[in-house]
């Protein structure tokens, strides 16, 4: 691997700048209230500029020389375990760098407007900057420990931002839940790292991947599954999905940046990055694909039943990441598409979340779509940009999603027909729930509250929407036509053996199903009147409204037994252990039962007796010796 040169040799600035921003805003306190948000935005943008320059430099290199390493400092050395903090600048990490800094900066700008009236705006921007720094470390690190540090760093930022309105009990609970569920995933990631060290004696990407072919398949499968557990936590995949819907308690820009465009996709990054391990274990890959397929359906079903616009979008995020994970589970046939879909999704989903924020802004922070309707008439820019994102996500050609989701469905079919059918069916449900969302929000009759006076948001919010909409519309075609992105990423991820044509039988069937989904949604929510109160709905609707009983399962399987164990343990410790030890002490001292009421004077005699005892012991030992 080559050393980083030129602008790439200051790649650490990418992380350091937003980190410094967070530190300044948090430590300097209220003094920075006036200009803190500008500083944060500027630093995020500066990171972006460096990222683009690095990208430019990379394009100047030949394919073989594009992967570069930048050693920063020695983290620690102990015995045969040494870890350096270093950055890996290659095609995969730079793709993420561009996504994170570009979308991240847009969301910073948007937040200037969105959070304008919040008294803690400075703190909000500090956390955003912290997030950007941690996320960049996550994708740039050249070893699993650095990745882990970034991994938990984004988790922390996510925790702080979900719970940004701590005074709302729901927000405080949601934040804690997100962190704890993620920790379950981290348990997996930790074990994976331990396995790597025990097996390979190193945890750097280069070292592990070079030695991986010599490890037994059992070990590789174990590592793969543990990595997957980590990915499930961060990316809200089954069975660790339950935190994401609650995470919508955070301010909407957070939902857009962290819980749609970037952080939740870190699991996909982890799997694709660890491709050299997964490629060697078919079992692990199959489990990855199954988890992805199951989640893409589960998320889509949840998305169908939510009246809360953010939660509907959150279900959709789960589902779309399910597509990416499915693709990543297909191995070399899918890695490129997973990342491509991740990038386009980053644009169109962030755009739609910000659009939803704009709608909420107009509707006095109401999130209930049953009280929306006909908003296209009053918020033209929001509507237009949202609509482009909508066309992208349901996969209408020639918009972005079509170019990145269709190949995943195609590749899934080639791999396994069941996975293919899941992916295709998912597309139909996606079309239904997204159309439902769009029709309920922007079409039909106005069902606004009497005191709602919707209006278009200020330019500082709508300009990011417009830019993201451009990506929603065109980025997919730009990346995928002529195999542009595939050729770029191939040295890292490998490439699919077969090439897909743009028009295929599966593709056409998918489009027909999508059209059917849209039509059904129009019939139910566009043409018909939407009641302001949610109807009771069938068994299936209730099932979906309750997030497929995910919380109920967690509660009855983990939380309640956990509470019982805790209670029993506390009782046991107070009565059992403490009692036994006290009793024993009392027995030895011959003072049964009086320990609790013991007085200070007693201590002296007790201590004295102990010292006398010790004295006798000493004497005895001396005698023995003589």
């Amino acid at each position: 691997m080559h050393k980083a040169e030129g602008i790439q040799s200051v790649a650490w600035l990418l992380i350091a700048l937003p980190l410094a921003g967070a530190a300044i805003l948090l430590l300097a306190g209220r003094a920075t209230d006036k200009w803190g948000h500008y500083l944060a935005t500027l630093l995020s943008a500066a990171s972006g500029v460096i990222g683009f320059l690095m990208f430019g430099q990379m394009l100047g290199y030949g394919t073989e020389e594009r992967s570069r390493n930048l050693h920063l400092y020695d983290y620690f050395v102990t015995g045969n375990f040494n870890v350096d903090i270093g950055l890996q600048i290659d095609q995969l990490s730079i793709s993420f760098v561009l996504l994170i800094t570009f979308v991240g900066t847009l969301i910073h700008i948007y937040s200037i407007g969105y959070m304008a009236h919040d008294e803690n705006r400075r703190r909000f921007f500090a956390y955003l900057n912290l997030f950007v720094a941690a996320m960049l470390l996550l994708v740039l690190s050249d070893n699993y420990l650095g990745l882990y540090v970034g991994w938990e760093g984004v988790g922390l930022a996510s925790y702080l931002l979900i719970g940004f309105w701590q005074h709302k009990p729901t927000a405080a609970t949601a934040a804690k839940k997100a962190f704890v569920v993620n920790r379950v995933g981290d348990f997996g990631l930790s074990i994976a790292i331990m396995l790597m060290f025990a097996t390979f004696g190193t945890i750097s990407y280069a070292g592990v991947y070079a030695a991986a072919p010599e490890a037994s398949e059992g070990i590789l499968t174990a590592i793969g599954l543990m990595l997957l557990l980590g990915a499930c936590g961060k990316s809200a995949q089954l069975p660790l999905q339950s935190w994401l819907l609650d995470a919508m308690e955070g301010p909407t820009p957070v939902s857009a940046l962290i819980h749609a465009a970037t952080m939740v996709t870190a699991g996909v990054y982890l799997i694709v990055r660890s491709g050299p391990i997964f490629n060697l274990s078919e079992t692990a890959q199959l489990v990855v694909a199954i988890v992805g397929a199951a989640t893409l359906l589960a998320g889509a079903v949840i998305g169908c039943a939510k009246d809360d616009i953010k939660k509907a979008l959150a279900g959709s995020t789960m589902s779309q990441i399910g597509y990416m994970v499915l693709a990543a589970g297909l191995g070399k046939a899918g890695y490129v598409f997973a990342i491509a879909h991740l990038i386009t999704h980053g644009f169109f989903k962030a755009g739609m979340f910000l659009g939803a924020g704009s709608v909420m802004h107009a509707m006095k922070d109401d999130v209930d779509m049953r009280k929306y309707g006909a908003l296209r008439t009053v918020m033209l820019i929001t509507f237009a940009t949202f609509f482009l994102g909508y066309l992208a996500i349901i996969g209408v050609p020639p918009f972005s999603g079509f170019f990145t989701k269709d190949p995943i469905i195609e590749a899934a079919f080639e791999h396994n027909i069941v996975l293919g059918i899941c992916a295709m069916f998912g597309a139909a449900i996606t079309a239904f729930y997204m159309s439902r969302l769009v029709f309920m929000t922007f079409f039909g009759k106005a069902r606004w509250d009497d005191d709602a006076h919707p209006h278009e948001s200020p330019l500082v919010m709508t300009i990011p929407l417009m830019i993201l909409a451009v990506g929603s519309a065109g980025l997919g075609a730009f990346l995928m036509l002529g195999h542009r992105f595939q050729d770029f990423l191939e040295p890292i991820t490998g490439a699919p053996e077969e090439t897909h044509s743009l028009v295929s039988a599966n593709g056409i069937i998918t489009l027909v199903l999508v059209a059917a989904g849209v039509a059904y949604a129009w019939f139910r929510y566009g043409a018909a009147t939407v009641p302001r109160e949610a109807p009771r709905g069938s068994f299936l609707t209730t099932f979906a409204r309750k997030d497929l009983y995910g919380d109920a399962i967690n509660e009855s399987l983990l939380m309640r037994p956990g509470q019982w164990i805790t209670r029993i343990a506390v009782w046991f410790d107070n009565r059992g252990v403490d009692g036994a030890v006290n009793g024993l002490a009392a027995l030895i001292g011959g003072t049964s039962g009086r320990v609790r009421r013991v007085q200070t004077g007693f201590v002296r005699s007790y201590a004295l007796s102990m010292f006398i005892g010790a004295g006798i012991l000493v004497a005895a030992l001396l005698v023995v010796r003589v």
Partner: protein
């Protein structure tokens, strides 16, 4: 030089104690000044430590009781040096955080705290400092024992005088547990002297002494049980929560943050080095109890309603990690354990300080007495959160590195215990964040002022150290490494080799 470092706070304690009663304010300033001088002195001395040099440095050896082979022998290696630094850095901050009567009251009441002497409190803390340095610096087993026992006295009076309503119960319980351990250790110390037959208590003379393996097992147990009580390990941990619920927060920083480390330090220095064979014999049992401590302590922490008891139980869990790392007997795990001792001192110290700030304001240690602190006192909530995050070993904060090293190092030899111990990271998230949520989240249930400058100065440096060591742990690890290698060679253990050796050189190195 080292003797001077021990004498300085001891003399300071005397001076402060002998000041006239009317001079309470002056006493506080004198004590603070002394502790600052000690800290500067120790840090300057530490810069002279040569990681490639002799094992023990700054050594001084004089006869004390010649007839029994007892020496005044002091010296520091990497581990004890880091622990001494931990002590001398914490003491001035603790003094600063104990400035008002409410700060020094271990109980919690909404009325004014009972009037108690500030002078005595500050003198006791200084005398504790002297003995803490002494106990880590002692290289003579008998001298170590003397410090080990003597330190009980100031702690007993700190808890018994400044504690809450149940202070005498807590103080007595603490003393009885410690005395019981001390007695076992005394017997073992004497037994060691007798059976080693070297006519000397010097550590250097005793290491490698030829002791009958069966006798060695008994002697090992004597030391180990004393240290396990001190550390504290399940099932002899119950004195700690009671002490914690009654003692003032400042004293707790030192009791849990430093004093308890004597237990784990003793395991490394005495159990492992003096009885390597017996240590290996006991390893399976010790590891079992360590893992139990990790999980059990964490579960109990989750179930607590009293803030200080909760922190005490988190420490039981953390000490489980330290003991696990020590007895896993791999280089990685042991460096992790030794680093953990320092990091735990800072992070638990910060947690107790923050808890103390909360309790002195609200007049209650019950978690459900709080709510919405984030809104009322954002700085206080923020410091509590950072300290807590260090307690749950968030990467980027110091405890993470040590916990990670312990786990990775343990896993390469003992897979199942390491996996069970890893469950601890999930439980840690629950006990810290749930507590934070109840204290800081929700609508405000309390109203009190945010942190003042004095309090910020007391807790700020600890948080800064936590962050700095989180990103740059190398200086401390480099300090510790020679000690680890030394211990590993005494117990004749080598690290398990990776099952698949890396075939190519790793990434580019400059």
């Amino acid at each position: 030089m080292l003797t001077l470092l021990i004498a300085l706070p001891a003399v300071g304690a005397l001076v402060v104690g002998l000041l006239p009663k009317a001079q309470e304010e002056l006493a506080k300033y004198v004590a603070l000044a002394v502790s600052l001088v000690v800290a500067v002195f120790a840090i300057v001395m530490a810069t002279g430590f040569d990681t490639d040099g002799e094992r023990f440095q700054f050594t001084q050896t004089y006869w004390w009781i010649k007839q029994f082979g007892v020496h005044w022998a002091v010296g520091l290696d990497g581990v004890s040096l880091t622990l001494v630094l931990l002590s001398v850095i914490l003491v001035p901050l603790v003094l600063l955080a104990s400035w008002t009567p409410a700060d020094r009251y271990g109980g919690a009441s909404e009325e004014a705290p009972p009037a108690r002497s500030a002078k005595l409190y500050f003198a006791l803390i200084l005398s504790m400092e002297a003995m803490m340095i002494g106990v880590f610096a002692a290289t003579d087993v008998f001298l170590f024992y003397v410090f080990f026992e003597a330190i009980l006295i100031p702690v007993y009076f700190l808890v018994g005088t400044y504690g809450g309503p149940q202070r005498s119960y807590a103080a007595v319980k603490f003393l009885l547990y410690s005395l019981f351990g001390g007695l076992l250790m005394l017997a073992a110390v004497i037994g060691l002297y007798v059976y080693a037959g070297k006519d000397s208590f010097l550590l250097n003379d005793l290491i490698g002494a030829n002791i009958d393996p069966d006798t060695a097992k008994w002697l090992f147990l004597g030391f180990f049980i004393a240290f396990a009580i001190k550390a504290p390990m399940v099932p002899v941990h119950t004195w700690l929560p009671d002490t914690a619920s009654q003692a003032p927060a400042g004293a707790l920083v030192l009791i849990v943050g430093v004093l308890d480390k004597i237990g784990t330090y003793g395991m490394i220095r005495f159990c492992l080095e003096l009885f390597p064979g017996a240590s290996k014999w006991a390893t399976p049992v010790v590891i079992t109890f360590a893992v139990i401590s990790i999980v059990y302590g964490a579960v109990l922490a989750i179930g607590q309603v009293d803030l200080k008891r909760l922190i005490a139980y988190t420490s039981v869990s953390h000490f489980g990690f330290i003991v696990l790392g020590i007895f896993a007997m791999t280089t990685t795990a042991q460096s992790g354990a030794m680093l953990y001792m320092v990091n735990h001192g800072f992070s638990t110290g910060a947690l107790f300080l923050a808890a103390g700030f909360l309790i002195s304001r609200r007049g209650s240690a019950r978690i459900d007495a709080y709510g919405g602190v984030q809104k009322v006192a954002p700085l206080l909530a923020g410091t509590f959160l950072v300290a807590g995050l260090s307690g749950l070993s968030l990467p980027g904060l110091s405890s993470f590195v040590s916990e990670f090293l312990v786990l990775v190092g343990t896993f390469s030899r003992y897979k199942v215990p390491a996996i069970i111990a890893t469950v601890g990271i999930v439980l840690a998230a629950v006990y810290i964040l749930w507590t934070y949520q109840r204290i800081a989240g929700g609508p405000p249930k309390v109203s009190f002022p945010d942190l003042g400058v004095r309090e910020l100065v007391a807790i700020g440096p600890i948080l800064a150290i936590i962050v700095a060591l989180g990103f740059f742990p190398k200086p401390i690890i480099d300090l510790i490494n020679p000690s680890v290698e030394r211990t590993m060679s005494v117990v004749k253990q080598t690290d398990p080799a990776p099952t698949v050796a890396p075939t190519v050189a790793e990434g580019v190195k400059p």
